[in-house]
Every structure is written in structure tokens, then in C-alpha cells.
Symmetry: C2
Subunit: 160 residues, 2 copies
Amino acid sequence: MKDMDIAEVSRRTGVPASTLRYYEEKGLIASVGRRGLRRLFDPAVLERLALIALGRAGGFALDEISAMLTPDGLPQMDRERLAAKADELDRTIQRLTAIREALRHAARCPAPRPMECPTFRRAVRLAGTGRFEVAPIGPFKAEAVSVTRRKRKTDDVSLA
Amino acid sequence: MKDMDIAEVSRRTGVPASTLRYYEEKGLIASVGRRGLRRLFDPAVLERLALIALGRAGGFALDEISAMLTPDGLPQMDRERLAAKADELDRTIQRLTAIREALRHAARCPAPRPMECPTFRRAVRLAGTGRFEVAPIGPFKAEAVSVTRRKRKTDDVSLA
DNA sequence: GCTTGACCTCAAGTCGACTTGAACTCGTAG
DNA sequence: CTACGAGTTCAAGTCGACTTGAGGTCAAGC
């Protein structure tokens, strides 16, 4: 396969050209040259972008991702660090699992105030926000995994 | 317990005063009055803040959270919507689990390039980023949560 | 040779969730 | 009665990950 221009990379990965330029600027990907002004990319960039997407989906920052990616392969990062990342993710998963249970329970439980329900309280406790302590968790965003649902919202949300 | 001033709420929840004002401005919490200029909060605000923290920890936006919280209790939100949120979280968990596995495997696998390893590829596939399609997942941040160490191994809940 | 249109650069804008800073107001201790 | 310091307001700044817009370039088709 021959080198691709930015439009093709974009088409094949779904990543907008503007994002690809941004990634290049940040050093996450590299173009192999130019034809005139236009960037040329090696097909290998597709794989790299998949890895980047994986990291993003895992909630890692671009800087962290570039720290785990060598110029071409994956883990120049030592195994310890990778394992640490996995553990980090694991804790997140635990937390989210507890919250999911809290939500499910809240959807089902008849208690007038959720905090009066022991099951709910337990879930809250497990959620790791401490008893009533608020753990500074940082900006998550469990955004629509359903990619196609990002249509632009102006009309929706009739919030009470 | 008598009404608290902003400093006490802050102290007892760990939420900075600036954030409390911000939350009030956004309508997530309310003060019950003023003494001079100073806000007074009902102790119930602590519980509400715990719920808000729970939502934040679950990756929900403040707007979403306020949509699920009635002026005082929890779910004015219909059960369907709560269940939908739980499902959303569930998909996130699936994805993160796959990524965790990919990471763990990468830390262990001897393959020179991870994409050559079938196990890794499988994990990537499960991560839901499509084949090589990049799902725009949005800014996560699996930040250090380790506020309170979890002694109880949160055994529960079979995640696939 | 000229137009076209995809691509380029660089600066600025956006979004969410807060934080920070300047200028001001009070209740209270001395 | 005055000073102090905790609280207040409002505007602006920050951070990460991009997007948008204005204005410029260039390979290719007519």
C-alpha cells in the first residue's frame, strides 16, 4: 500500500484531518513526507491511531499515551508502568461498577430517599467517594459510546 | 445540627468553597439563607453533595446530575432513565475492562509489535473502538482515586 | 495558463468544571 | 469603635483536546 494523504487517513480511521494535524503537532503521529505542502502518511499510521484511540478510550491523556508509545511499536514503556496503568483502570472499573449498581438499585428501590436505603448507601460507599467525603476524581466523561449519537443538541433535555 | 457556613461544608465534604458557590450558581445545591452576606447551609446539603460526588465519579456531567436530582431527594428521574444511565455505565465498564486486559497483556506479551499479537488484537477489538475506527469517547481521566484504600475486595457483580 | 479545490499554517475560539484575583462587606473580638 | 479576616461578587483565567476561520499554496484538469 502506498502512502496516503491526510484525507485518506481520515476516511479510513474516522479521525478528522484537523485532529490528525493536531496529533502530529503533539508528536503522537508523524507524516513521512510531503507532496508539495501535503502530508504523506505511511499506512502504519493507521495502526498507531488505533492504539491512540485505545488509550483515549481508556481515559488516558494524550501525553500519557505518547509516553507509552515508541516511535513505532507499543510499549517502550516498562512493564511495571503498563501494569500500573492497568491497575489504575482496574480501580476505575471497581468504582464505576459500584456506581452502576447504585443506579440500578435506585431505579428499583422504593425508598423515598435513597440515602435511607442500606443497599444504596453500600453502593455509595463502594463507589469510593468515602462516607460523605468527596474524592476529587477529576473530569471524567462517560460520553456516548454510541458514536453516532453525537448529533448536536439544542432542543433536547427538558430538565426539571 | 444547626446550619453551617460555607467553610464548614467545605471542611466536612472536602469540596472547596469556590466549588460550592459554583454548584449553587448552577442550581445543584441551595443555601437556606444568609447571615449578613454569608451563606448558610442545611446539613442535608452534605448528603446532596455526596450524591453529586457519586455522579461525578460515575462520569456524569453536572447538568446530567442535576437532571437526576430533585430539589431534595434523588430520583425524580424516571426509572427508565436511571436504568439507561446504568446501561451506559455498563458499556463503559465493558470497554475499560477490555482495555485493562490489553494493557495487562501488553505488559506480559513478548511480541515485538503488539498488533502482531492475537490476544492484544482481540482486546483492542473488544475495546469497542471498532476495527480501526476511532470512537470519539471524550475526555476521561482515570485519575488517582486512591483516597480510601478498599479493604473489602469489591467482589460483586459479574462483568462479562 | 488559469481555475479549482484539497490541503496548508497560525491564531483564536469552544466546552465543562472549576479556580483565581480584585475589590468589597460584615460580624465579632479587643 | 475599629480592625481583622472570613465571606461575597463578578470577571477573567486555566486546562485538555480539539475545532474553526481567515488567508495562502500548489498539483492537476480543462
